[in-house]
């Protein structure tokens, strides 16, 4: 056996045996890794270290209702959320998370301070229409007022998510999924979104991203 083979074998043994620790681990199948560690080492890559995201491709999690995060991660893990972004990104990452890790991750992000995403401000008319829809709904088209479940500060409540400062692009896409697909089952949103027009979706999403202080 030559020297290089011996060195290679020695290195392989060292890599496999001596270098594992849950501290700062990114192992998604190790139940011993704390959820906070996974939030910081893995989830933060897209959702931000403090749960605030720059890219609208990924939802803000800062200040999110912990029950909602637990609910969604559990749904991803059970492969019940079948919207494309859900299964492409989240099924695999959540597949072996334990309930305790999920609870830790939810707790971590719910305690972060949400920040309004950067971006150009929508025009006043759009914001006013969004506010009207959020707070009052639209009796003529049977659109319910969002405030009923999501709260006067759009802070959410238990399984109802916080919406304030959420990316408008993300909100519109989720409303589309509720309205047109069965990708997110188990919520009343399919019925709620049924009468919404594209303009209404855009205006309420713009209002929520730019929610007043």
């Amino acid at each position: 056996m030559n020297k290089s083979v011996l060195i290679g074998m020695g290195a392989a043994v060292a890599l496999l045996a001596g270098c594992s620790s849950v501290e700062r681990s990114r192992d998604l199948a190790d139940p011993n890794v704390p959820g906070v560690t996974l939030a910081q080492q893995v989830c933060s890559n897209c959702h931000g270290m403090d749960g605030n995201t720059i890219s609208p491709a990924f939802p803000q999690l800062a200040g999110q209702q912990p029950s909602y995060i637990v609910n969604q991660l559990t749904n991803f893990r059970a492969e019940q959320r079948t919207d494309p972004a859900g299964y492409r990104y989240m099924w695999g990452l959540s597949r072996h998370l334990t309930d305790a890790q999920i609870a830790d991750i939810a707790d971590y992000y719910s305690k972060q301070t949400p920040k309004r995403p950067r971006g150009p401000s929508p025009d006043a008319t759009t914001l006013a229409a969004g506010k009207q829809l959020y707070t009052q709904g639209d009796a003529q088209t049977n659109v319910l007022a969002c405030v009923t479940c999501h709260g006067p500060s759009a802070q959410g409540m238990a399984h109802f998510p916080r919406l304030a400062y959420q990316h408008s692009d993300y909100i519109v896409k989720q409303l589309d999924i509720f309205q047109n697909t069965e990708g997110r089952p188990g919520t009343p949103m399919a019925a709620v979104t049924h009468p919404l027009t594209a303009q209404q979706k855009a205006s309420v999403a713009a209002y929520l991203q730019n929610f007043p202080e």
Binding site: L15, R24, S25, D27, S55, G92, L93
Partner: protein
């Protein structure tokens, strides 16, 4: 690893084609949500689009970059084997003026028919096949090892081709990530065999090449001597075939820095260039320093990077005696690159730019030996001038790409090579009373090559890409017309390339 299939190419090719078709068939039967994709996707359970921009491998998304920089350790350890096969068919505009000798090995074609070079023109071929051993090893160790088989590595005197299997890109990492209130520091080390293969941006020299790409100087008309930035170390095999250790850090997802040293892949580092004959490896004098800096910033759905890189290497000429201090040339490379990505479903747009300047100081021995390609210039009278001691080459690439719903897309890639004209670059003229030249000929001594590649692609399932490319040259080896002195024009090398790229 030694040569696997010498003299058995036809059979091997049939097996590969059959295997490829079988895999395509199996792949099309899989539901799209299936995770039966290469190792990294199995490891994270995610779809290709998580790490690859618009699903277009190998270009990385911001998350893909973090996956790489954290040592391929996100997820869980899984089956580390994956494979990639590229089946292609290329058609070169003019096949009447080929070479009389194999441009890869220098062997004469047996038939004496100069068109032998184009014997595979228009025919479907398995252009390349790779095996990957990759993924998470432990919490802080991970790796990416590519072993590539080139079925058309060299032409035999009987007109057949010999394949060759080599260690391609190798990147084995240790990475850690330190997080505090105001600091997010990823740092690590990479043992690799190719300068910049450890880089997370695809404007780095190792990743700029959008595989596959048309090239008139390889037997299957892909890859080969396509004009891409590089560090001047490639000995002809895959990867850089040298041994390097780099240290890197990425602070707050903003500042990236990497430094490293490269040496000859000999003795205990032999595995990094396995498959390449001892006489053909890149032999460096001492250690060659490599550096890389980049600034990265997210801008809403987009992100931007501007960077610079460089390397200085003393490379021995061919298989010359590495104890002869007059037989190495010095290569100093400096590069600037920039990238903008916009990623928001259903749109993905990328703009990439890379510019490399390479200064080479030829070895005293090679300068003294004079031009070994030709004796006289194209007039068959004038002797080739004395060689110069140095040359400069500038290589620039600009690529724009768009993908819709990670399904269909296209790209536009402009390339331009220019630099000093010198007798060192003259490869066409008269040698032994016979005219040389044709495809790889250069009668002017100028490296100027420029053109554009148009591409359209379709991704029916996430691990299969079907594409068509058209590469048009406005200049080749110094001229737009008669660049080889034997009537071959730059546009004669224009190539249509169809390909199917499968990863499984």
């Amino acid at each position: 690893m030694n040569r696997l299939v010498d003299s058995h190419v036809p059979l091997f090719r049939k097996i590969l084609i059959f295997a490829s078709l079988l895999c395509v068939w199996v792949a099309t039967l899989l539901p799209q949500s299936a995770m039966a994709v290469p190792t990294f996707a199995r490891q994270t359970g995610q779809n290709c689009v998580a790490c690859h921009t618009g699903g277009q491998f190998p270009e990385l998304t911001p998350y893909g970059r973090m996956f790489k920089l954290t040592g391929y350790t996100i997820g869980e350890r899984t089956n580390p084997l994956s494979a990639m096969v590229v089946v292609s068919a290329a058609s070169v505009a003019d096949t009447t003026k080929g070479e009389s000798t194999d441009p890869v090995t220098g062997n004469p074609y047996s038939t004496g028919n100069s068109n032998s070079q184009f014997s595979m023109n228009g025919q479907p071929v398995v252009a390349t096949a790779s095996l990957f051993v990759a993924g998470k090893i432990s919490d802080r160790f991970g790796g990416f090892v590519q072993i590539t088989h080139d079925p058309y590595a060299s032409a035999n005197t009987d007109g057949s081709y010999s394949g060759h299997t080599v260690a391609d890109n190798i990147d084995i990492r240790y990475a850690d990530r330190l997080i505090s209130d105001n600091r997010d520091l990823v740092y690590g080390f990479s043992l690799n065999n190719n300068p910049s293969v450890s880089d997370p941006w695809n404007t780095a020299a190792s990743w700029t090449q959008y595989v596959p790409v048309a090239s008139p100087t390889s037997h299957q008309f892909t890859d080969g001597a396509a004009p891409y930035p590089g560090f001047g170390l490639d000995a002809g095999g895959g990867g850089g075939q040298v041994a390097g250790l780099t240290a890197y850090m990425f602070l707050n997802k903003t500042y990236y820095g990497e430094v490293g040293l490269y040496r000859t892949a000999s003795n205990e580092f032999r595995a990094l260039r396995e498959g390449t004959d001892d006489a053909a490896i890149t032999v460096l004098d001492g250690y060659a320093p490599y550096w890389r800096l980049a600034y990265n910033r997210e801008l809403g759905a987009g992100n931007i990077m501007v960077g610079a890189t460089g390397m200085f290497a003393k490379v021995y000429d061919g298989a010359s005696d590495p104890t002869d201090s007059n037989s190495f040339h010095q290569v100093r490379t400096t590069g600037l690159d920039a990238q903008y990505q916009y990623i928001l479903d259903p749109h993905t747009f990328t703009a990439q730019f890379a510019y490399f300047r390479q200064d080479i100081n030829y070895s005293p021995n090679s300068v003294a030996a004079g031009n070994t390609s030709v004796d006289t210039l194209i007039d068959n009278v004038t002797p080739v001038p004395a060689l110069s001691g140095s040359d400069t080459t500038n290589t620039a690439r600009l690529k724009l790409a768009y993908t819709y719903m990670a399904k269909v897309g296209g790209s536009l890639s402009l390339f331009n090579v220019n630099g000093t004209s010198s007798a060192n670059r003259i490869t066409a003229g008269y040698s032994g009373g016979e005219q040389t030249g044709q495809v790889s000929g250069n009668v002017t001594g100028s490296p100027s090559t420029s053109g554009i590649t148009y591409e359209a692609f379709y991704v029916p399932i996430q691990n299969l890409r079907l594409g068509v490319q058209y590469t048009a040259y406005s200049q080749y080896n110094g001229s737009s017309s008669n660049y080889d002195g034997n009537g071959r024009n730059a546009s004669d090398n224009n190539t249509v390339l169809l390909y199917a790229w499968l990863a499984f």
